[in-house]
Symmetry: D3
Subunit: 250 residues, 6 copies
């Protein structure tokens, strides 16, 4: 039994409240245990300069934490005047991951801005952000679809993420909370598609290392967890969820 009573391969409770913010084309308030993230998707009718004229769209993400999302208050990046390396890594990851399941040609020359703001942090904020952002993104794209702005629906498949890791007392565990993450020997974030393919796989030994066998265990555990998350996403998305499931089967 883990410190919060979960089994080794058990996710924390996940919930997603959609249409959380009235102005955004898509928005989700996702909770994964005590981790809470607001994800919004905003449509801008142009692409960044380096992509103009290519007839393709773009998806980019920004990530931030409220100062008191954490146990100790953290200084605002706006107050420090620069974005930390950790934030940059995370927002690049979110954008890259989402682009893997979107047909950018079908999106047309527009940008979708994903904003993930962590209200409360208890481990796994980046994977929760990806899972929630996918739903917000789908909703924003559905808005375009309703307005007859798209010829084909650009979402190719589901996308979700979770973390796995190796902790001293339990070995390989799924969906680490902050306390587990802080003490983990190995920490791995995995992003997968509904078809079971990998989009990102980032494993890090924290002043430690891991073997080929452990790599396989970690990956298998993550796959199981993410399959559960796909069910939740599909439920939250309702009709559009079914459409994506069909899309993917083509």
């Amino acid at each position: 039994m883990r410190i919060d009573g979960r089994r080794i391969g058990q996710l924390r409770p996940i919930a997603m409240e959609t249409n959380y913010v009235k102005h955004a084309e898509g928005s989700v308030f996702i909770t994964v245990g005590d981790t809470k993230v607001i994800c919004t998707a905003s449509i801008e009718e142009r692409v960044p300069p380096f992509m103009r004229g290519e007839g393709k769209g773009w998806i980019t993400a920004e990530y931030s934490m409220l100062p008191r999302a954490t146990e100790q208050r953290t200084i605002r990046e706006a107050a420090r005047g620069k974005i930390s390396g950790r934030t940059m890594e995370i927002q690049r990851l979110i954008g890259r991951a989402l682009r893997a399941v979107v047909d950018l040609k079908a999106l047309g020359e527009r940008t979708i801005w994903i904003d993930c703001d962590v209200i409360q942090a208890d481990g796994g904020t980046r994977t929760a952000a990806i899972t929630g952002a996918f739903v917000a993104l789908v909703q924003a794209i559905e808005t375009l679809n309703q307005e007859k702005e798209l010829q084909t629906f650009p979402i190719k498949d589901f996308l979700a993420a979770t973390s796995v890791g190796i902790v001293n007392e339990h070995g390989t565990v799924l969906d680490l909370n902050y306390e587990e993450d802080r003490n983990a020997l190995v920490d791995m974030n995995i992003v997968m598609t509904g078809a079971g393919e990998f989009v990102e796989l980032q494993g890090t030994g924290e002043e430690s290392t891991f073997s080929y066998t452990q790599l396989q265990e970690l990956v298998n555990l993550a796959q199981e967890g993410i399959n559960t998350i796909f069910d939740i996403q599909r439920q939250v998305l309702g009709e559009i969820g079914n459409k994506i499931a069909e899309q993917k089967n083509r």
Copy 2:
């Protein structure tokens, strides 16, 4: 009848959910109509360098908006690398206002950081932030009190804020929403104490001006509105609310 159906002197519905964020010593999720702000109060056991050794505490505030709190997505101040003049004005105002009802000596050499993050903006974010931040502040101070860290309770009185303004069709109105604010000829933010004293009064003609008579009307309307807000704060604060009411009468 105003665009959202209110009477001239009518506030929008106000609600405050306390203990909104688990890590913070005090936290409130305040909604004023469609304006939603998370206010947290964080205790730090030291004061800024310029105050060391004076035996007094300090209260400072930071304010920010999520990028999609607004109708059009706004660029993050962290991404731009600097804080806007508007943000600075607002966070200075919040800190100054709160300090007016706190006995900084009684607080002891510690800083309370107030963070106000706007989740959804529909006018009056700075006054909602002050009203909510006061409650979060009281809770953080009560935490200190419970831990026997204080000799006297440092909150001297209630504190709340609202806006008033002059709009073309209606004249003087209370608690402007975004649509009204955008078209207002005169815009005034007023912060008051439970005893009916002014802490801040900022009136601005937007490429317009206002007379002495209009000034009096605006102030009277604000006073009535703020009295209603005090009732809500007192209810939200329960027992501690009563303590402050007594404190104030001394």
Copy 3:
């Protein structure tokens, strides 16, 4: 008697030297007691991007203090790499105030940059800046007028500012110097038009508060002071002063 020998409702001596800087379209060296500010008005034949094509002009202001304008040398904002919240507040106030008495349509698509640089500070630098900047602005606009660039004269009325406050020994006083300002319980800056209307009214309790009666006393005192300043502006402006006086009466 106040520390510098003035009565409660007495302004410090005010002087304005026009055409102080040879390159600027309008320039004034204003002294209010020991407070000295260089105000220049510069014409740029375009408006900021957000206003293009609207057929209207724009007025924007910047404010700064020489490092040794103050008793202790202050670090340059250029050296620190960012502008302080106080500076931002002040320059936004100056710009907003001036725009209230200018017909931006009549100005045409051009920007007037107001620069207020404090050479010596002894309290009331922002109100001195507004009073002086108004004169520099009028002169810059008169330059345009002489060059037949304008169809109607865009200045609608006089504009001036002063401070009032509550100090322990004297109660309500007019035009606070630095020593008085530092110890004031309440500090209020008021900007008015020649017609006696308010443009800005910013009252702040410094860890203190003020009553409705005190608000009225402060406002009355400011009105008297500003009327005296209008006389000085009119004298300094000579012929153009008369033109504005007529303009205002239409």
Copy 4:
């Protein structure tokens, strides 16, 4: 045959010139094909504030590219005033990787700064940087050792890195050059220890995905490549190389 004539599992030629810069405690000029990186290790006799008094050392890395290391000149990060997300990701990776094979306790309270400056870029700069930086680090630590500053030798094992990827024409390939990397569907950087354990594994689908089978192929190919690199490192390090080989076997 790949565009540069290599087989699928063939590394580019690797060379390391040690003592490249006279001032640094350790320095290596590493070339991997046309990729050229200067790696230096600098000893500082203190640790960052957050580690003081823990009796442990620290290793931190910085990475940069000369403007004309690339086909098109890139703007200097110093000129832009901020470090890009890509640079941050890479320098965090290098530092983390090196710390995995160093006994920080045995290092004592000192920091080793690793600087990796890319003179010429042709793909794989971050993995070349890790491979070269390890050798520079060992030399800097040997300097400490010679000066009798250490009780035990803190290097626990060899460390090297390479990239693998999936490209359209060839499937899985080892050690991608820039041209291959630019067109790769999947890109993976792997850091391993001499004992065959993983330190970092970062696989990314570039608007693409990869299967479990492909993951295994990629990892196997990387393992073979890195084993070759260990031989080169051991040769370059000579006597100290033998010492690490023994250390590792304990």
Copy 5:
């Protein structure tokens, strides 16, 4: 005859008003033709970290131009968030030049901050700044002297600067105004001591070059000009001027 009617070796009229700013320990308003600079000297009772404990003082300078000192308004460096290369060059030059005639040991562990703010620019602002700053510096040091803070008077000699240059129509000319400077083929700034020694000599061909003979002509012309400036400085400094003259003869 030059464009402003001067002879080739003729300086523009120079005037210095001392005690220009009430707060500063030393202050001068220098005018050289239409170039006007406020120079202040401020005493701080400590030295920068890199000099602590050496028993020596430090002199450092900052330089800035009011936005409308120039024909076209220039953007404030504070607004741009960084100091230009030109400004840095000039402020380093001013500080270095002044340190050449001060016995830093005799000054004791304190810093003198020199601030040179250009109110109106018409060429030669950096040399006017040095000439004026020297006088402000002497006055600040005399203040220390009067307060019995110094054992020996630390000013070793007079210091002044001027510019010379080569212009198409006239060849070598002294003390270039803006119009001449803009068209000069060669531009040289020279700082000298009362003893006729060089402190700085910076000659630059502006997309042009100069011969050994021209170098000698330029230097001779500058020497004559600076001698005239020393007379003005001595007159302005009165009694203290005599003291420096004696100091120098020892």
Copy 6:
């Protein structure tokens, strides 16, 4: 005999390796004693905004030091977020010097970016950078020439630089190394053309001064040294060197 065994008027050994970086249009690795600098020249087919439409080209330079080029590791300017005054001075000097021997009209509307990155520093980095950058520049321009992009060859003459100085034990010396430079009383950098004309001459007393006679000695010594450098440049440039020699004689 100087600390490194040289005579007073003796240069350190100079070598230049051309085509050092494969991507750049021109590149040189220059060593002057233990000072080592990579100089590249990159062609961009446009000019900065302020020069557009004038039919002229532009040459601009950037300079940087690797962190461990120096005895003590220096913090990266990218990490500090701003460029130091020293760096700015140097890069402005390099650009200005090179422009003096280039016919910008003949270059056409294109920019040549010069990058000088110091790999190892032992005094005289800026003069080595100029000497090496000239050769890289010539090669980049020869590339344009080979591609028939130019009507006339825009290099008007050779250009090289060295330092001279006054040190306590030896008086006037040529080409100071770091140890000598650190202790020099006077430090002078001189840039000259093949025709023996001065482009830049910057002499600085470091808390010291120099006489007219010393100025002449310094200049004479520099002239001799630079003549030797021209011979090396001509040899390195081969055929193109001859072309420049002829160009210059026209």
